[in-house]
């Protein structure tokens, strides 16, 4: 019966991504546990959907997890994450010829950030600057590249525009997720000889499955048990896992969201939007 299906929410900005979720739904069906995918335009809508019980489980950005955590007074249930969601960091990039060699050198400068709601390309690095003595709206100028607002930085466009502005000389520094910085160096998007990473944030975690507090914990565990059956050595699973950018589903944890919680407190972000 369709009512027995576990409803899983995901934020979609490109119709091609629905194909991945279709494959995931087929995998769950083959494993004897049917899911129904519900797609949302943005994370705020998805968190609303979770709170309204339109869905049982949400594939949340770190900020959407925090939003859910705060709205449920910490009672939401935490699920799995991708291996690649763990231990990420944000890089502070400058031009090598700028003479800037440390965060303190950014005092009075213009820094290019990603979208307003991007944990990795705005909130966390702003918090990192704060902890290193550079206050927001006082010690540096924020130049924001608001691509895909509502997607919490899922779209790489904001970070990419920021680093392009750095290369064009319209900002003095830019921030980028470590995975993007490494990928851009590898594929030639950026010239490693011209740019340098002067600092990184401490490690943080990224996306995580989050269930409503009233969703059966037993069913959530059963669902996760099936999820973890995805095996990268299985060719059919590998294709699906490559599309989602992981080699293994791992246990979720919320310790990796501490910097984001600090950033939210510092910027009073979720209270202000």
């Amino acid at each position: 019966m369709s009512n027995d299906r576990i409803k899983v929410g995901a934020v979609i900005y490109d119709p091609r991504v629905t194909v991945i979720w279709g494959i995931i739904a087929d995998f769950f069906k083959a494993e004897g546990l049917e899911i129904e995918c519900v797609f949302y335009k943005d994370y705020e809508g998805q968190v609303d959907g979770l709170m309204n019980r339109e869905i049982d489980i949400a594939w949340n950005s770190p900020l959407a997890w925090l939003d859910t955590y705060l709205r449920t007074d910490g009672k939401c249930q935490m699920g799995s994450m991708r291996d690649t969601d763990r231990d990420r960091k944000t890089c502070f990039i400058v031009r090598k010829d700028s003479g800037i060699t440390s965060l303190d050198g950014l005092r009075g400068k213009t820094i290019g950030f990603g979208a307003v709601d991007s944990p990795q390309a705005r909130l966390i690095p702003i918090n990192h600057l704060h902890k290193n003595g550079l206050e927001f709206e006082a010690d540096y100028t924020e130049q924001r590249f608001d691509i895909g607002v509502g997607l919490h930085g899922d779209h790489v466009g904001g970070e990419l525009d920021a680093i392009r502005a750095l290369m064009a000389g319209t900002v003095d520094a830019s921030v980028a997720l470590d995975l993007n910085w490494e990928a851009w160096k590898k594929d030639g998007t950026v010239d490693e000889n011209q740019l340098a990473c002067i600092d990184t944030t401490p490690l943080f975690d990224h996306c995580i499955f989050t269930a409503h507090p009233d969703f059966s914990t037993e069913r959530f565990l059963q669902w996760q048990e099936v999820l973890h059956r995805m095996d990268y050595s299985n060719e059919a699973h590998k294709q699906m896992m490559d599309m989602e950018g992981l080699k293994e589903w791992v246990e979720g944890r919320i310790t990796g969201f501490e910097q984001l919680r600090e950033a939210n407190d510092y910027l009073k972000f979720l209270n202000n939007v």
Binding site: P15, R16, T18, G22, Y40
Partner: protein
Amino acid sequence: MNRSTDETKTLYESRFYDMKFRGTSNDLATVKIYTSKNSFQIEKQISFDSDYEPVSSMEYFAGSVLSSILLTLLEQSKRSGLIIEEVEGVLNLSLENPLTLVGVRGYDEEPAIRKIAVTVFLFVELEDQDFDDFCFRALRKSPIYNTLMRSMELEVMFKKLI
């Protein structure tokens, strides 16, 4: 006797060619289209899966537009005694609001084809002005082009192969 120019006196069959198609869905999932002599199955309006092989409604539509333009050029060249030695076309189509189509909550705007741009590459023995005159005159004989150009942004460019 003067020749009549009154449209109302022209035979209906001379003014209109009517066609009829039938569509059925026995499995309530796919559609089978019957023409007067053939039939074909369509499983999806559009697929966003690059590995999806069957032809979708959108692909039939785009193929219909492009083939009508190319076939019109070939037919008109024969009628004017010109020889087209090579012809190839490229069609680019922009579907607006695709996320409404896949049911993403928060998107309500109607999906529609926003723009079609066709570029036709031709090798034909004509000089520049004659080349343009022939191509655009021929294009006006394409019923699909004539219909769509009244209802949407449809751009057709011709490029001469050298």
